[in-house]
């Protein structure tokens, strides 16, 4: 079952780039299977951050001295890199945010200001809390109504129901690209097309898509796209919100402060052009440079190769894990990315997770910030093994062995 991608993918060299993958956990070589929560970082990214602080660090924009110019150039070049990473047509449409959660909240609190009583916003039943709560808060403020696309038993969106939810009152659709709890890859092109037919604007939550393969916002056809750097080998505290220029320009500003202004006076203040209008305050310069370096790293490995390698790994893991008696995979959509959520009959995820930990295998247990989805399936949570391109078949074998032992102990 050794496939093409696995044969040519330079996994040994890649693993050597990740210092944390060389460590132990509870006295066993670490098997890290929680990349969907946050990925590990290659040395290249750590070096880019350190090199920035050691050579170029200064506040950006408006500085007349060489150091500040260098910092600004590096910072703006990083924006360009991120625009290219998602094939955004214009780097000025790329806004630095803390992460995916802030990206969604930014849209809700700026674009959302135009919503009024009776307007309808659509999310799905598989959304992360970060793509539910901002809309609930907005609905409370504005009188808009939240509608929910149901999820089928295999973890796919019910697209027939989605079509029925859409109507002339629909002003906004916000849907996850890839589910963090199930791994389902949603049909985002169709979702956008159908929403646009009724004149609604679409935001795609790309938190679990950008770490696993090529994303092309123009091909998707969405209006906004947001994701977190820390899940794709970048530093914590930096992510991206992309939006179409005309929409961004039509939006009121987000935070007030330095950078986002044109001219401030007590008689009246005017705002800067995009993207700066949405970037009040000193930005996370090292975060931007680190994230761009992560994007460069992943691009250099070839995103298609990453996607194929991970697909084979997931197929292998699914095949091996389902041999365990009583084990049930939650989320069996035909299109999936790198997530294996499971339960074992009669066993609590916390018990399984604890026993895996003691065997050096790091998985996440619980609701994965998707309580409504867990309720939909009538379960308290799952055990989730999530993969990145730096995982191996040996990691899967360790997971299978550790789970088998845990299940035996708990039976």
């Amino acid at each position: 079952m050794q496939n093409t991608a696995a044969k040519t993918f330079p996994i040994e060299r890649i693993r050597a780039d990740f210092p944390l993958l060389q460590t132990e956990m509870n006295g066993k070589p670490l098997v890290f299977l929680d990349s969907a929560a946050s990925s590990q970082k290659p040395q290249q990214v750590l070096d880019a951050i350190e090199q920035y602080y050691e050579n170029d660090n200064a506040n950006v924009h408006r500085g007349v001295y060489a150091l500040s110019q260098r910092a600004t150039d590096a910072f703006e070049a990083a924006r360009k890199t991120m625009a290219a990473y998602i094939n955004a047509p214009d780097e000025h449409e790329v806004i630095w945010v803390r992460g995916c959660t802030e990206g969604i909240n930014l849209i809700a609190s700026t674009y959302g200001q135009r919503f009024k009583t009776g307007d309808e916003i659509i999310v799905s039943h598989m959304e992360h809390h970060s793509n539910i709560v901002p809309w609930q808060m907005l609905c409370e403020r504005s009188g808009a109504i939240l509608k929910v696309i149901p999820v089928l038993d295999n973890g796919e969106l019910d697209m027939v129901a989605y079509k029925e939810l859409l109507n002339e009152r629909t002003v906004f659709v916000s849907v996850v690209h890839v589910s963090n709890a199930l791994g389902t890859v949603n049909p985002v092109v169709d979702i956008c097309n159908m929403a646009h037919e009724v004149g609604a604007v679409v935001l795609i939550d790309g938190a679990q898509a950008t770490p696993h393969g090529k994303v092309d916002v123009q091909a998707i056809g969405c209006d906004f796209y947001t994701f977190s750097g820390h899940k794709m080998c970048g530093p914590t505290g930096q992510g991206i919100l992309w939006g179409k220029r005309e929409l961004l320009e039509s939006m009121p500003p987000y935070h007030g402060g330095g950078e986002m202004i044109d001219k401030v006076s007590f008689e009246g203040t005017t705002y800067n052009v995009i993207p700066f209008k949405f970037e009040a305050g000193t930005p996370n310069m090292a975060g931007a440079i680190g994230l761009a370096s992560a994007a460069d790293y992943m691009t250099s490995l070839d995103l298609d190769a990453i996607e194929q390698y991970e697909a084979e790994l997931l197929a292998y893991a699914t095949g091996e894990m389902t041999k365990i008696e009583g084990l049930k995979v939650i989320g069996t959509a035909p299109e999936k990315h790198s997530v294996l959520s499971f339960l074992v009959e009669g066993m609590h995820p916390y018990d399984l997770g604890t026993l895996l930990d003691k065997q050096g295998v790091a998985v996440r247990t619980g609701h994965h910030c998707c309580q409504p989805l867990m309720e939909r399936f009538g379960i308290p949570g799952t055990v989730r093994a999530s993969f990145a391109f730096y995982n191996t078949r040996e990691d899967v074998d360790r997971l299978v062995a550790a789970t088998t032992r845990a299940v035996k102990m708990l039976s």
Binding site: G27, Y350, D351, G353, K358, Q359, G366, M409
Partner: protein, 145 residues
Amino acid sequence: MTIAERQAEIIDEFEMFDDWMDKYEHIIELGKDLPLIDAAYKDEDHKIRGCQSQVWLHAAPEGDKLRFTADSDAIITKGLISLMVRVLDDQPAAEIANTELSFIEKIGLHEHLSPTRSNGLRSMVKQMKLYGIAQAAQQNAQANG
């Protein structure tokens, strides 16, 4: 046995395991053996919510002592609960209120009581002590009243 003696006993008991998995094997056994809480008490009022696992705790005074029963939906949590109950059940309220529970640290399971673990255990220990404090205060009031 006093609380201190019971703690010492548990520490002894765990000394024979030099492997993590054996230790957990034992905790799981203890969880299975835990006398269950009366079904009537397994409700919202007696629930201690955790993010990872839930705990139900019931306390009843018996003379100057307190009797505890408890349960959890996760077996490892249940095993750890059974140790807490073994140490604190049927002890004088005043002692429960004032005791330091050091055995969990000594048997190397302190992580389960981390404030960030959120399995309900830490809150349960706090709750047990609160029962002790309340009961002791009431006895004092009666003695002086």
